[in-house]
Amino acid sequence: MSCNSSGCQSNCHKSDDQLSDSPPPPPPPLAAANNSNNLCLKCKTNSPITPGSLSGDEARFCADCFRSNIYGKFRLAVTSHAMISPSDNVLVAFSGGPSSRVALQFVHGLQDRAQKNFEASKDKSLAVFGVGVAFIDESAAYPVSSDKVDGAIQDIRSVVSNLAPPTKQLHVFPIENIYATDSSDGKDRLTKLLDAVNDATGKEDLLLHLRMLALQKVASQNGYNRLVLGSCASRIACHVLAATVKGQGYSLSADIQYVDARWEIPVVLPLHDCTSQELNLLCHLDGLKTLQPFDSPPSGINGLISSFVNILQEENPSRECTILRTAGKLTPFEFNRIPETDDCNVPLAIRRRQKRYNLKTKESISSELFCPICNGPLKNCNSLKLSSLNSCQSSRFNAACCSSCQFQILPKDPSSMENFCSLLPQQVVDRAKLGNCRLREQIQDCLLSDSEDEN
């Protein structure tokens, strides 16, 4: 990896990706400069960053080497998993927090470079991928003053419009718009839906699933074909433990890969290998403004896990990475890759790379059943579900869900269950129907093969 430090003797900075839009790096802090032995681990020239509260390995790099290291991890993730192709139209999910702020900055950096290459090339053969930004307005779910939200949206507008061209469209999407646009009571329904969940952890997780629905809707309505999330290593590490604690061991490996194409619009996680400490530091160094109008500390089980991971990090700063490494050894699903494309606009190299990563055709994708709430793949249909196919709609819905959602999200008694189902967005209901159809097919297949066995 090259070093883009101005003081770096390797002279390689020209070849590296400069983020044209980022402000000039701040001068090295004086405190560090006092000690001449205390130099950046990598370039051995500049003073390392000495941030007030951070003391991990990242603080032993100089700002430039640190920046290029993080960007390098991002770029490696993007290229090695074919996350973005020239013909793509990419939507960056932007919450205003440090992770998605960096994701936006880096995607912008990639696009900027592609744009420069495009302008420099003679034949203009390589298209420049498009970038849009989505902000989900969750006022309906949080007790936040509308002033605060309006202010945040204004700030976000200026962040997005201040990025160098090509222009990036910002989509501000109220989360209640997951309901059909013709229904005016979306906010009301959403509140009632969330109120119907008794478990604090379940409520939080349901909102997370609804946020994904919203992002998918923005992406599909506006012609995007990739959704970039800022999920970082620290966040994924927490998810690994949370999913384990919630009994979602089977579906876990679907959630933690670089690519997740079980959604209509494939989701990619280019910051998969960056820790939140690194991303926070980068925002701090580069003066990237962060704001999170809907930031609330995780509660319930999620809160317990996040404080547990914090304690672990104190004891051993690489613990998050170890957790990630363990989870990385779990077998991913077929949909954890970018679907193959026959688009001839896509350069051959990329198509070849896809061939290498794509092992099998889509057949096995369709065999998977998904929980309509969390969209987690389900482990084998069981006989319980089989019998439920002939029962009423709400109990059919219940049976289509994973055991974790059944426990922490769905109401226990049948009458509340009916009410709950009536409050769900159409996409969720459709997912359940699709699941039931697939289940019926599978059962029929099973019955067929059973009778064959008998013969």
């Binding site: 009994g247 490996s253 363990t326």
Partner: protein, 353 residues
């Protein structure tokens, strides 16, 4: 008085609806009386045994007995069930004497009482006899660092040797649901995918000299302790004097915090452990035989022999840490567990037993 009446009226057993409820089951959140508790507790273990075909009639079974709550309850319940359901098992108590004054000598007294109380023959194997060293002597030589590594390796082998002496077919241990959930977490935290894939199996070591199984795999620690308390079972509950921090493990504390917030989390963790998609092609170390003592080993010498060699040569660090033992094969699987780190949880006691 009125309040008391109110309480008594409300708290009737969920199952018999007659007697006063005595505890809330973490597994089901039902409030049940003592008598019904005994019944469901024992019946559930019986069902686990039957469903997983843990035993065959006529088998000789050793119960790893430390004198602690888990193995004491296991010994009691197993001998009950054996009688009640005619398993046709020959049960034995098998204890390891590590040679720790003021700890194991006391807990062995408990096991000796259990021998009489339950009428189960007891076999004690000692580190002194097997290895020539007591833990007291080992600690005198190496100090309090890494002593749990020695103890863990020696105990595992001692149990197998004891089981061989008793000519048993199987060894049962008192690992409970909390222990297994904790092990799942620890294996995630330390990146050990091989152990992660097998730590939730109810039976392990079927390729080894003596298979081990865990009839308490789905049994909550809370219920084991309640059972022991209500039945006034005689068990020993002092922490090993050489690992005073063992039970302070973050993971154990985390499990207990989780249980308080959501009791079913313990079973959910075990379910996750069973469901993880782990490809079975993960390389397992090749099993061979220790050239020195004949115990199963993936190396030229087994771990215990390597450690012993170090002790006897005055090089106690031999075999500790990431060393590769005495042979120069660069096999990756010989990574040692660092027993001194807090996060590795309780090396002593129930986990490695």
């Amino acid at each position: 008085m009125e309040g008391n009446h109110e309480k008594a009226r409300v708290r009737l057993c969920y199952l018999c609806n007659q007697r006063r409820a005595a505890l809330k089951r973490p597994k089901t959140l039902e409030q049940i009386c003592r008598e019904c508790f005994y019944e469901v507790f024992e019946e559930e273990i019986h069902q686990v045994i039957v469903k997983n075909q843990l035993f065959k009639p006529g088998e000789r079974i050793a119960i790893g007995a430390s004198g602690g709550k888990d193995s004491t309850v296991l010994a009691y319940v197993l001998s009950e069930l054996n009688r009640r359901h005619n398993y046709g098992l020959d049960l034995f108590l098998l204890s390891v004497d590590e040679g720790i004054t003021g700890y194991r000598d006391d807990s062995l007294e408990t096991v000796k009482r259990n021998e009489l109380q339950y009428g189960l023959p007891l076999k004690i194997v000692s580190y002194k006899d097997l290895y020539g060293w007591t833990m007291d002597e080992i600690v005198k030589t190496i100090g309090l660092k890494n002593n749990c590594t020695f103890c863990g390796v020696f105990r595992r082998q001692a149990l197998d040797r004891g089981a061989a002496l008793l000519k048993v077919d199987k060894l049962v241990t008192g690992h409970n649901a909390d222990d297994i959930a904790e092990t799942v977490l620890l294996n995630i935290l330390r990146g050990d995918i091989a152990r992660l894939s097998r730590c939730t199996s109810i039976t392990t070591g079927e390729d080894g000299p003596i298979p081990r199984c865990k009839p308490f795999k789905y049994t909550y620690e809370k219920e084991i302790v309640m059972y022991a308390y209500f039945k006034r079972l005689d068990y020993f509950s002092t922490e090993c004097i050489y690992s005073p921090n063992a039970y302070r493990g973050f993971a154990r504390e985390f499990i207990k915090d989780l249980e308080r917030m959501r009791p079913r989390a313990i079973l959910d963790i075990i379910k996750s452990g069973e469901d993880f998609r782990i490809s079975t092609s993960t390389k397992m170390p090749e099993q061979g035989i220790c050239e020195r003592c004949g115990y199963i080993s993936s190396q030229k010498w087994c771990k215990a022999c390597v450690l012993l060699e170090g002790l006897n040569k005055g090089l106690p660090k031999l075999g500790i840490g990431r060393s590769r033992g005495l042979d120069n094969n660069h096999r990756k699987d010989v990574k040692q567990i660092n027993g001194t780190k807090n996060i590795e949880g309780k090396q002593c006691g129930s986990l490695d037993f």
